[in-house]
Symmetry: C2
Subunit: 123 residues, 2 copies
DNA sequence: CATTTAAGTTAGCTTTCTCTTACTTTTCTG
DNA sequence: CAGAAAAGTAAGAGAAAGCTAACTTAAATG
C-alpha cells in the first residue's frame, strides 16, 4: 500500500456499486465519486492496464480477482474504521471522511492488531 | 486537514529538529527527510508565504505560532499512534511508517475520541 | 588571498490526478 | 428514421511535489 490512494478509491467504489447496481458503468462511478467522466475514463484505462478490472464491450465494469482483493481490503478497513469511530461518538460525517483517508495507509500488520485490540481491548 | 500532507511533514520535521539541534537549516531538513535541497528550498518558500515559518538572514528556520500549532498537532498524532501500534505488537518500522501517513488524515474529533478509548477502553 | 566546499536558489523536467473542451458513438424517442 | 440525449474518449491545461543541472553566495582552509 504505497501511493495508490486514487486507484484504491476507484476499486472500492466499483465494489460498492456492484453490490448496489445490476451493472457498473463509468458514469455510475463518476456520479458516485463526484468527479468528471473524463477523469473516470482515464482512471479506468489505468485499472484495465493493471488488470484490476475488465470492461465489456457494452462498457460494463467488473473487478478481476486482483482488483477484488484490493477493493475488499480497502472496503474492510473503511467499514471497520468508520464503525469504530461512530461507536466512539464521532459524527458519521467526520468518521466516514477520516476513514476514507486512513484506510489507504494502514498496513495489514497494523490493521489486524488494531482490530484485535478494538474488538477485545482487555487482551 | 485536507491535502497538506507534504507541508505538514515539513513542519513536523522542523519541530523535531529544533528540539535536537541548536538551529535548523534547509540542509538539515533535506538530510532528515531524505529529499534534495531544491525540494526543501521550494517547500520553505511556500511555508514562508503561508506564514508557518520565519527564516533569518543566516538561513535559520523557526516555526511561527501558526506553524507550531500545526506541527505539534501532527507530532502528537504521530507519537500517539506509533506508540499505540508498537504497544499492540506491531513492529516499530511498520508502526512508524503507518503513523507517518495516518497522522495527516485524522480530524481532531476522531483523534480525541480514539485517545480516550485507547487510554481507557472500558469507558 | 585564492580555491574549495557548503548552502541555498532558479529553471526546467516528470509524474499523478484532476479539470474543460470537444469529438464520436450509441441509444432512445417522437 | 431523424434528432436529441447519454456514454465514452481524446487532447490539452494546471496544480502539486518531487527530481537534476547549474548558478550564486558565503564560509572555510591551505
Amino acid at each position: 500500500m504505497h501511493d495508490n490512494e486514487s486507484s484504491e478509491n476507484y476499486l472500492e467504489t466499483i465494489l460498492i456499486l456492484s453490490e448496489r447496481l445490476p451493472v457498473v458503468r463509468s458514469v455510475d462511478i463518476a456520479e458516485e465519486m463526484n468527479i468528471t467522466k473524463p477523469s473516470v475514463s482515464v482512471a479506468m484505462k489505468k485499472l484495465r492496464e493493471n488488470e484490476c478490472i475488465v470492461v465489456s464491450k457494452a462498457g460494463f465494469i467488473t473487478l478481476t480477482e486482483k482488483g477484488m482483493k484490493i477493493a475488499s481490503s480497502i472496503y474492510e478497513r473503511h467499514t471497520f474504521l468508520s464503525n469504530w469511530l461512530i461507536s466512539l461518538g464521532v459524527s458519521e460525517k467526520t468518521a466516514v471522511r477520516d476513514a476514507c483517508r486512513m484506510e489507504h495507509y494502514i498496513s495489514e500488520e497494523s490493521f489486524s492488531a488494531m482490530k484485535q485490540f478494538i474488538q477485545s481491548p482487555n487482551k
